[in-house]
């Protein structure tokens, strides 16, 4: 066996499949999610809720703080009050839309904060490994050992009531969960040959984490974090319900659910409305993250 008969580079020509237009990974993901009907429906619902919450003062709604003793607990469909009134006679439609502002912020902001902190911690723990990994992960496990509701209540209780404190509490609740996901995805990627190859080319750990690890783990963590938004909204609502988050008369879905609880036998439909909003937003975020997950699995 001294000579192999095949030519070396002449075969290059036959590899010349038509040049595909350069399309980035995220552009492809975007295109795929646009074709997913369920995800798009959820995205539209969320978009409507977001836009109306942002534009609330300009929608010509009733004053959400102005009550009236003579028109308490009107039913849904009462003229002038399309969604009825609450136990103090305030317009439910206005309160639900204004309430979205606060509810969405305390639903999403803790997740974004926890996403940033948890991803950094997880990638460092996963990539560096060894003692640093043990230190980070065991610390995280201590927090993880508590049920998240209990932990949120405990931290909120310790910090005192208030919106800012409940955001901090929820962030602390979510950091361990995201860190664990980030760490496990990173350990999976770290041992792959392309990371070895990057090390072999002389790149430092920070460059490798930024160029080679981050891009490959972000997707999975992002999907997980999206699913946490619904949990965060429910926990935030729970904190407000217990009086640890928002204070009356501020409109916020969890707090509204709490105060309308007394009216559940008088006017159950109106009392259930804030819960329905929380449910709608949560399920939309969940379905959207599911759609995102399948859109990002691009290899098929």
């Amino acid at each position: 066996m001294s000579e192999l008969p095949l030519s070396t580079t002449a075969d290059a020509a036959l590899q010349a499949a038509p040049a595909t237009k350069a399309r980035g990974y995220w552009a492809t993901v975007g295109r795929r999610i646009l074709r997913d009907k369920v995800s798009m429906a959820c995205a539209i619902v969320l978009l409507l809720i977001f836009v109306s919450a942002i534009l609330a003062p300009w929608l010509g709604l009733e004053d959400p703080y102005k009550g009236s003793m003579i028109r308490r607990l009107r039913h849904i469909g009462t003229s002038g009050y399309p969604l009825g009134t609450d136990e103090l006679g305030r317009d439910m439609l206005a309160r639900l839309i204004y309430g979205g502002r606060l509810s969405l912020v305390i639903g999403i902001l803790p997740v974004i904060l926890a996403f940033c902190i948890g991803t950094s911690l997880g990638i460092i723990a996963g990539y560096v490994g060894g003692k640093l990994n043990t230190a980070i992960m065991r610390t995280v496990d201590v927090f993880y050992a508590f049920p998240s509701v209990l932990l949120a209540i405990a931290i909120s209780g310790a910090l005192g009531a208030g919106i800012l404190n409940s955001i901090v509490a929820l962030t602390i609740v979510f950091v361990p969960q995201i860190t664990r996901v980030a760490e496990s995805v990173t350990t999976g990627v770290r041992n792959m040959d392309f990371v070895e190859a990057a090390r072999a080319s002389g790149a430092g750990p920070l460059t490798i984490m930024r160029v080679h690890i981050l891009g490959n783990v972000l997707g999975a963590i992002f999907v997980y974090a999206t699913s946490l938004i619904s949990v965060s909204m429910i926990l935030a609502a729970g904190l407000s319900f217990l009086g640890l988050g928002t204070k009356p008369p501020e409109p916020e879905w969890g707090l509204m659910l709490n105060t309308l609880r007394t009216a559940i036998y008088v006017n159950p439909w109106v009392a259930a409305l804030p819960g329905a909003m929380i449910f709608a937003v949560s399920i939309c975020f969940n379905l959207l993250s599911d759609g995102l997950r399948s859109a990002m699995d691009i290899r098929n």
């Binding site: 001294s2 590899q15 010349a16 392309f194 070895e196 002389g202």
Partner: protein, 352 residues
């Protein structure tokens, strides 16, 4: 390529030792992995690479062969300084890493192509970005690095316009391995370690890539360390060959000498195990029986004595040293090759 301005390549690590200086000298390379047993189990170690020594001359291709798990890939990773070694010296062109040569310089001087062409490319980066990554790490500007990447794509036989912006999953295994070769070459290395680089490819693609490697060697003046379990391929591409068994070198020498007169029974068994295309010379009996022993607590003495048809009591006592068989650098670690060793088949003591 029809570029007007010349493509800049990274300056290769300077040739300091001259032609006589081996590009790579390895002395007593050792790596043991601790095995975690039960709580009260005794601590045990896998002797993945045990006291391996060899050298690679400039412009040479050295093949390393052996069964799976004999420490070939561990050796490659140790040479690349991708894992810390327990003992031994790795001398690159007369320089030791950490003394006269920085790790960063070594990374430019020595590159590696991995077996799994898919896993060794970042799925989120385009081919061009993957190749340009190394030069950028070493301070090349983005534009220049991309131009170099396209130039190298041409060199490995891929049309840059068609491939530069593709992702690894969009191209075939053979094409990906070409990309990996281009990525290794992007740092202007003088030594390229090919760790089973063609083993996962089908035969016709394998032949193309081997020819490509031969062309690139000529064009860039490369030195190869070619690791494979495929003896035909090793014979085709190598000048010298190293046979490993359970983490030790059992035989080394010029490829023709080793093939024509193997000095170690393990090498003989390996060569006999090669399927022959001649039906009259079909292999009737397995030349070697059983699996290699567990590398955790390997056999004492010569590690091959448990499977060797010529084993004698002395083989289990002490490890035979690599001994010269002729004056051409052919060495084997077997008592049958050591004059006066006490083995019944050993040649008589020479008095010269």
């Amino acid at each position: 390529m029809t570029t007007t301005e010349p493509i800049a390549m990274l300056e290769p690590v300077e040739d300091r030792g001259g032609v006589a200086q081996p590009l790579l000298q390895v002395n007593g390379l050792t790596k043991h992995f601790p095995v975690r047993g039960g709580l009260f189990a005794a601590k045990r170690t896998v002797r993945a690479v045990d006291n391996v020594s060899f050298s690679v001359a400039k412009g040479e291709t050295v093949g390393i062969v052996g069964e799976s798990g004999c420490g070939k890939s561990t050796t490659a990773r140790l040479l690349m300084h991708l894992m810390p070694r327990d003992d031994g010296d790795i001398i690159y062109d007369g320089m030791t890493v950490g003394q006269s040569l920085s790790l960063r310089e070594l990374r430019r001087g020595m590159q590696m192509v991995f077996q799994d062409s898919y896993a060794s490319l970042n799925p989120r980066l385009t081919i061009e970005e993957s190749i340009a990554f190394g030069p950028k790490v070493h301070g090349m500007a983005d534009g220049a690095a991309r131009a170099l990447a396209r130039e190298l794509l041409g060199k490995v036989g891929l049309v840059p316009a068609n491939f530069a912006n593709r992702y690894p999953h969009e191209i075939s295994g053979g094409q990906r391995q070409r990309v990996n070769i281009a990525r290794a070459l992007a740092l202007s290395p003088r030594l390229v370690i090919l760790d089973e680089a063609v083993s996962a490819l089908d035969k016709s693609v394998e032949a193309q890539v081997l020819n490509l490697l031969a062309d690139l060697k000529r064009e860039f003046g490369l030195t190869y360390l070619f690791i494979s379990h495929d003896l035909n391929v090793v014979r085709y591409i190598s000048d010298r060959v190293l046979v490993m068994y359970l983490g030790e070198v059992v035989e080394l020498g010029p490829v023709d000498q080793v093939w024509d007169s193997p000095g170690h029974p393990y090498t003989r068994a390996l060569l006999a195990a090669m399927p022959s295309s001649d039906p009259d010379r079909r292999t009737e009996k397995p030349p070697i029986s059983g699996d290699p022993p567990n590398p955790i607590d390997p056999p004492t003495g010569c590690r091959f004595h448990t499977r060797c048809p010529f084993a004698e009591p002395l083989c289990a006592n002490a490890t035979p040293k690599l001994t010269a068989l002729d004056k051409m650098g052919h060495e084997a670690a077997c008592y049958m090759a050591i004059p006066g060793s006490g083995h019944s088949r050993a040649p008589g003591e020479e008095t010269a």
